[in-house]
């Protein structure tokens, strides 16, 4: 690059200032959440709020655990189960289908792929009322399979894996494995799956976060006997909204797993979002 263009693309102090301000605005609600969660209830009415966290988190979270109406701990465990089950399943089935669409030849391949992309347009709301009735008929109301099974493979996942598989895996590699006498599934498992790992990781992260945060459907089909963590939060915030310290302690605990995932895998998540954008 010439020096002129370098200067053209050099960030000014004003740029840094604006970005720091944006970062602070991003972080502030998290920070506020941890302050309230770790202090006595009275602090909620202090303006401005105290600057540092306090030592009352144990007390506040104790009240959450004693609260039978919200069943928060149960919700937390359920969310771990549901999010892990959905994530593993989505990654596996999406990789399998993505591999088939990218690397195997079969009749109707293009039409089926187009159909999958088309299904992404259909909003959840359009299916939710009959789905609710169906689940009740099957005796799946207020059960975890009601929030797992319908989401075990997604159009987004299949499409994403297909895009990655078509560029990351060479046809020669697959032909060579065929000549060695590998069956199709063996090829998938020993040759394709290892190569798909980076994309599978990103898909897994996005799916985990999506499932952990999912609200409308769990809110409709689950109840306070088998909540997910988001349903617990909603129950807690609607019935105990005067005890903000308790609600915020629960909110903080529900947020920490996501923040941990983000701190560890943030770069991959950002990479996933940005690469997806260029390909789309």
């Amino acid at each position: 690059m010439s020096t002129g263009s370098k200067r053209l693309w050099q960030a000014s102090p004003l740029t840094y200032g604006a970005l720091i301000l944006a970062s602070l605005l991003s972080l502030f609600p998290f920070y506020f959440m941890f302050i309230v969660a770790t202090r006595k209830l009275e602090v909620i009415n202090a303006v401005p709020p105290p600057f540092s966290p306090g030592g009352d988190f144990g007390d506040n979270f104790g009240r959450v655990l004693d609260n039978e109406h919200a069943a928060f701990l149960y919700g937390l465990i359920n969310s771990v189960i549901v999010s892990c089950a959905v994530t593993l399943s989505v990654v596996f089935f999406s990789a399998l289908a993505g591999f088939a669409f990218a690397k195997l030849r079969f009749k109707g391949r293009n039409i089926l792929l187009l159909a999958i992309v088309g299904t992404m347009m259909v909003p959840t709301q359009l299916a939710i009322i009959p789905l609710y009735g169906m689940m009740q008929d099957w005796g799946w109301g207020a059960t975890l399979q009601a929030v797992i099974v319908p989401f075990m493979v997604t159009a987004f996942g299949v499409f994403m894996m297909r895009q990655y598989a078509s560029s990351a895996i060479s046809d020669e590699l697959i032909e060579a494995a065929r000549v060695d006498g590998c069956g199709t599934f063996r090829i998938f498992w020993s040759v394709v799956a290892p190569a798909l790992r980076p994309a599978a990781g990103v898909l897994g992260l996005l799916t985990f976060m999506d499932t952990w945060n999912s609200f409308l459907w769990p809110y409709a089909i689950l109840d306070s006997d088998t909540p997910t963590v988001q349903v617990s939060l909603a129950l807690l915030s609607s019935a105990y909204y005067t005890d903000y310290a308790q609600v915020f302690a629960a909110t903080a605990v529900a947020t920490v797993p996501l923040l941990l995932v983000f701190v560890v895998f943030g770069r991959q998540i950002i990479g996933g979002i940005m690469e997806g954008a260029v390909k789309a």
Binding site: G4, L8, S23, P29, N45, A97, Y132, V261, M274
Partner: protein, 319 residues
């Protein structure tokens, strides 16, 4: 173990057993090549048929019935839709949804364009800033809504406290239409501006730098370059971002529900009840499946129409 080895087969059969496995393997591998792709893509289509197509068709059917959870289902043709057209609560929900959508989307896109433009430079800590900006997107909507509902309280709310420095009297955010829309739009923007920034940034980085270099040799300033080079190149991405925002924005549900303390009416006078909330109220609270299904279809049709209009507008205005 080896004691129970099978007796050696008679001589005569041997050539057969020798050939059979290889031809079976051959048949097996032909079968494998021909049909296993279908098995691999089948899980998606089976799940989508059961939990996607079937319920969507059922929604279409229910919308034509007077269909309650308990009792008979009577075919009523388009009565549900006729009733919907004259339902003031429905139109109120439409007004709220579009109001919040516009109030959220316009600043969000401008903010994302601005931030992406800032990030598309040589700087220190670029990964740090990207992480900071997209962090709100990984939090749960319910958590965001709970925190913001407290920030937007009338008494002791932090937002009112800050506004107080500018001489603004305490606003009852939940109590009025405009104020509640603003509060909810703020939650949406806090969560989604960073995400859209990254998408626009990715598209900006794909634009070849030498276009800018020759433009700046020709004396085009930064502002001019932004309008004549960046914006046109971003067109497909803008269409993508606006479409995704439209689909998400018109389905808005969680933020207003939790902002209203978990109640589905969205404020005492339904100041911020969205279409999705009204569908929930009719379908799941009142158990009027037929009427709820009609609302679901109305919402879907609106999403398609608005996405189409957006597409045409952006295609025409950004050349």
């Amino acid at each position: 173990m080896s004691l129970s080895a099978p007796p050696a087969p008679p001589q005569l059969v041997k050539p057969d057993t020798h050939r059979a496995p290889s031809s079976r393997r051959f048949r097996l591998s032909r079968w494998d090549i021909k049909y296993s792709p279908y098995i691999y893509v089948a899980p998606f289509f089976i799940l989508f048929a059961v939990f996607g197509i079937y319920p969507v068709l059922q929604t279409a059917r229910m919308a034509l019935y007077d269909w309650n959870l308990i009792g008979d289902h009577t075919f009523t043709g388009l009565d549900n839709f006729t009733a919907l057209m004259g339902d003031e609560y429905f139109w109120n929900a439409v007004k709220n949804t579009f109001g919040i959508f516009l109030l959220a989307t316009v600043p969000q896109l401008l903010g994302a364009l601005f931030l992406a433009n800032l990030l598309n430079q040589n700087m220190r800590g670029r990964m740090f800033f990207r992480l900071m900006i997209v962090a709100p997107n990984v939090t749960s909507v319910a958590a965001v809504a709970i925190v913001f509902a407290v920030l937007f309280r009338r008494d002791f709310g932090l937002v009112n406290w800050v506004l107080g420095f500018f001489g603004v009297d305490a606003i009852d955010w939940k109590g009025q239409t405009w104020s509640s829309w603003t509060a909810i739009a703020t939650m949406v923007d806090w969560r989604w501006t960073g995400y859209n920034t990254l998408i626009l940034l990715a598209a900006m980085q794909a634009i070849p730098k030498d276009i800018y270099e020759s433009a700046s040799l020709d004396g085009a300033g930064k502002w001019r370059q932004f309008w004549s080079i960046t914006m046109p190149q971003l067109r497909p991405t803008l269409i993508f971002v606006v479409t995704v925002s439209t689909i998400g924005g018109l389905q808005l549900f969680t933020e207003p529900v939790i902002f209203g303390d978990g109640r589905i009416l969205g404020g005492a006078q339904r100041e911020f009840q969205t279409i999705a909330m009204y569908m929930y109220e009719k379908g799941f609270n009142d158990l009027q499946f037929g009427y709820g299904s009609a609302i679901a279809w109305a919402l879907f049709i609106m999403i398609i129409l608005v996405s189409g209009v957006n597409y045409l507008l952006i295609r025409r205005s950004v050349k």
